[in-house]
Symmetry: C2
Subunit: 144 residues, 2 copies
DNA sequence: ATGACTGCAAAGCCTTTGCACGCAA
DNA sequence: TTGCGTGCAAAGGCTTTGCAGTCAT
């Protein structure tokens, strides 16, 4: 998980937007690049603070479009607060543990878990395309 | 999974509320009984419609208290819409598949999945007490 | 030139809060 | 009797929508 800006993703995202017939508008590009700098979930309002030059409505509109195109994924780690994460082209992804006291999160990956989930996805009557796993409890600091 | 009212749960819930020093107020009892009649997630507004005699604020307040006491669990199946489910004393529970087109949900249980999750919970640095798994995709009807 | 894109401000929705009355204990 | 519990209405917070000007193509 790189801490640097994910240029591979942002280029892919901008290309996909373009392929979908959307213009490379200023606000759109700025939001995509802001997202490229986050390795984990960001809320729309956080993002809006990071890019004061972009109107809040445009941040929300861009997030909608990116989600629609499968470039980002929506998750809700804290009740009532939406958050978005990049979807890597590789399919590589992680899940989260969230502290119910302070909201701190920890990301984790697990192959065995993914295997069970693919198995379930296949046996479900739905055509499953994504999944979320969230573990909740107390972080080391809050558990004292 | 019974389709009848879960009186075991509602009695346990009312007893727990009482043990927590809360009074057996009219609105509280009505909301608990309404919850006892749902086997899967219900939203606060749905619940409020079912019990017109109870003020909306009381529905929300009661849900907060029940969640606080671990008698119900909050999940978000649809973006921006909270939903609550009873927590069975037995610990027995299910997860959900949600249609991203029509919102229809399907509940499922899986022992192997639960095993993987307990394993992860143990190895995490957090003290994990609960977890959610949501599968998303298209239901048979929407997948056509 | 043309219509998509943007920012701003207003409107919407769900949820929470304030307050005075009513009821459980 | 006491103060918790409740309903109503107002306030809050996040998100969406309308509209007129601007910019990408």
């Amino acid at each position: 998980m790189a801490t640097a800006v994910d240029t591979e993703w942002s280029e892919h995202a901008l290309a996909t937007l373009q392929a979908a017939g959307l213009r490379r508008g200023g606000a759109r590009v700025v939001v995509v690049e802001a997202l490229a700098g986050h390795d984990c979930a960001v809320s729309p309002l956080q993002l809006d603070e990071e890019v004061p030059e972009v109107g809040r409505a445009s941040v929300y509109r861009t997030l909608d479009q990116l989600e629609e195109l499968g470039l980002i994924k929506r998750i809700e780690l804290t009740p009532g607060v939406a958050a978005f994460e990049r979807v890597e082209v590789s399919g590589h992804h992680h899940h989260h543990a969230v502290c119910r006291n302070c909201g701190r999160t920890e990301a984790f990956e697990d192959k065995a878990l993914e295997r069970e989930i693919s198995r379930l996805a296949k046996q479900a009557s739905f055509e499953i395309t994504e999944h979320d796993v969230v573990l909740r409890g107390l972080c080391p600091r809050c558990a004292g």
